[in-house]
């Protein structure tokens, strides 16, 4: 991924900056300029997600594309943030510690590098949180 293409999404990739529609209260990640429900009647404002949520579904990637080949196996999951939006990310954990419903929180991590001398891309992954009794 080119430097500019990565750089322009840094707020979202590093800090989970999305949007919220003040008309209907729905949250969006990645950010949207239009609320699909309210359309032009919506009022979109920036929203920083605290990054807590749960695992909706998951897998363990054992055969990856080139940029991820040296990081296999890794846990890939769809996470539902507590505000509602879902996103695809990695869960930094042993596969047996991740299940449907596992509570997670976001962490800042290295995602991949463009070859040995290229740019290192960072972003948001998740880790399981211990259940609070």
């Amino acid at each position: 991924m080119s430097v500019a293409r990565f750089w322009r999404k840094i707020p979202q990739r590093y800090n989970l900056i999305g949007t919220r529609c003040e008309s209907c209260g729905r949250h969006y990640f990645p950010p949207r300029s239009f609320c699909p429900d309210c359309r032009r009647g919506g009022k979109i404002v920036e929203y920083r997600f605290p990054g807590t949520g749960k695992v909706v579904t998951h897998t363990v990637i054992r055969a990856a594309s080139e940029q991820f080949e040296n990081t296999t196996p890794y846990v890939l999951a769809i996470i539902q943030l507590d505000e509602g939006p879902r996103l695809t990310s990695q869960v930094v954990a042993k596969p047996e510690d991740v299940a449907v419903g596992t509570r997670v929180r976001s962490v800042f991590r290295r995602i991949m590098a463009d070859g040995e001398s290229g740019v290192i891309h960072y972003g948001t992954k998740f880790v399981p949180v211990k259940s609070e009794k």
Binding site: K9, P30, V60, R62, S65, T88, V100, H121
Partner: protein, 387 residues
């Protein structure tokens, strides 16, 4: 709108075709289709070609003109258009050709599909295919195509009573069919044990749950139904063409385990054909992974959600079952040259309806094709029938 018929079909063998170039593949498929229709190039009014990613697989764009040129049609200057919708490029090219004939704009139209995937290494092909999903918010995080379908499988198996064995039986059944198909990439039967002991690719999916990397091309020729018998004694009628879209990213879907675009495209197709589902005799569905065939059968409405695994185990979807699914061997055993797959599905249904399917012949007068782009962001459904 005019009624449309298929008057010719042609398909290369599918596989790792080291000796054949991209151009060789579509020229072979096109020649076979023309020969089948007993036509020559000067009859062709227009071409639509489905191709996902020649740009990355062979670093060649501008496929429409290239194909017309190497088909020997450059001096006739026919309109030739590339159509792209990831793995549903072929189905969509067919749909564009049907619309062109139905509208009255063109009479004799070629719909083709081609993909040359083995000129790059596995890493590049995996990454290229990941472009069918959301590059920014899925691929960037390390999602692969098997990985996305694996997450569908995890969600599905968490909610419905599908066993790992039933999932494997989809692959066993499709290899059994593929073994009877002269063009199939894999022409040997496999056992359930082979599937269950193969390497994990993305849990719970194993190597034998996945369709392969394939080179191949397919072509069909369309004409107005009222002219079809000028060319063939066995025209096949296009009873319905339907297409639907959905969110590009799997995580944004209403339901991870239900492809809403399949549901909608299916409903639109049945409405257009004016037929209830019970009239459909057999299906060619998009089994890029075993879980995809399970979802397709259910989302097209042939059984309730959660039942397709049991139907597979009971043999309902086998060649001699009540609803044969993927008589060609499907993407799993016949192979999946992504841009060609949607056209190959049409070729298979036409062969079946003409009674030319040899050892894998099933009874039936109406067949359905179901072609998926990405994880369900585009779905194209066609219903074809004897005349």
């Amino acid at each position: 709108m005019r009624d449309v018929a298929i008057i010719g079909i042609g398909c290369t063998t599918f596989g790792e075709k080291w000796a054949a170039s991209f151009r060789d593949l579509f020229v072979e498929a096109g020649s076979l289709a023309l020969k089948d229709a007993e036509l020559s190039g000067e009859h062709i009014d227009a071409m639509y070609v489905g191709n996902m990613s020649a740009g990355r697989f062979i670093e060649q764009e501008h496929i429409g003109a290239l194909i017309a040129d190497y088909a020997g049609l450059s001096t006739r200057h026919i309109p030739s258009t590339r159509v792209e919708a990831a793995c549903s490029s072929g189905g969509l090219a067919f749909r564009q050709a049907v619309i062109a004939v139905a509208s009255g704009m063109e009479d004799i139209v070629v719909a083709a599909g081609v993909e040359k995937m083995t000129d790059v290494g596995t890493g590049v092909s995996v990454d290229t295919l990941a472009g069918a999903a959301d590059r920014e918010w899925e691929g960037f995080m390390g999602a692969t195509f098997p990985g996305l379908y694996a997450m569908i499988a995890t969600d599905y198996m968490h909610r419905y009573p599908l066993t790992r064995e039933q999932l494997g039986m989809v692959a066993v059944k499709n290899h059994r069919n593929g073994a009877k198909n002269p063009i199939a990439q894999f022409r040997s039967e496999i056992t359930l044990e082979t599937v269950l002991s193969s390497a994990l690719v993305a849990d719970p999916l194993r190597l034998f749950d996945c369709s392969p990397i394939t080179d191949g091309a397919a072509a069909v020729i369309l004409a107005p139904l009222d002219r079809a018998r000028e060319f063939t004694d066995t025209p096949v009628r296009v009873l319905a063409t339907a297409q639907a879209s959905d969110t590009i990213a799997l995580h944004d879907r209403r339901d991870i385990s239900c492809l809403d675009a399949t549901v909608v495209a299916g409903e639109r197709a049945f409405a257009m054909a004016g037929l209830p589902r019970e009239k459909i005799d057999f299906l060619e569905v998009h089994d890029c992974f075993t879980i995809a065939e399970i979802c397709a059968i259910e989302d097209l409405g042939f059984c309730k959600k959660g039942e397709a695994g049991r139907l597979t185990e009971e043999g309902v979807t086998a060649l001699n079952g009540d609803l044969p699914v993927n008589t060609s061997g499907g993407l799993k055993a016949c192979g999946h040259p992504v841009g060609a797959t949607g056209i190959k599905q049409v070729c298979e249904v036409v062969q079946q309806l003409r009674g030319e399917a040899g050892a894998r012949q099933v009874d039936g007068e109406i067949g359905l094709t179901h072609n998926v782009g990405g994880t369900g962001a585009t779905v194209v459904v066609h219903i074809l029938g004897v005349t």
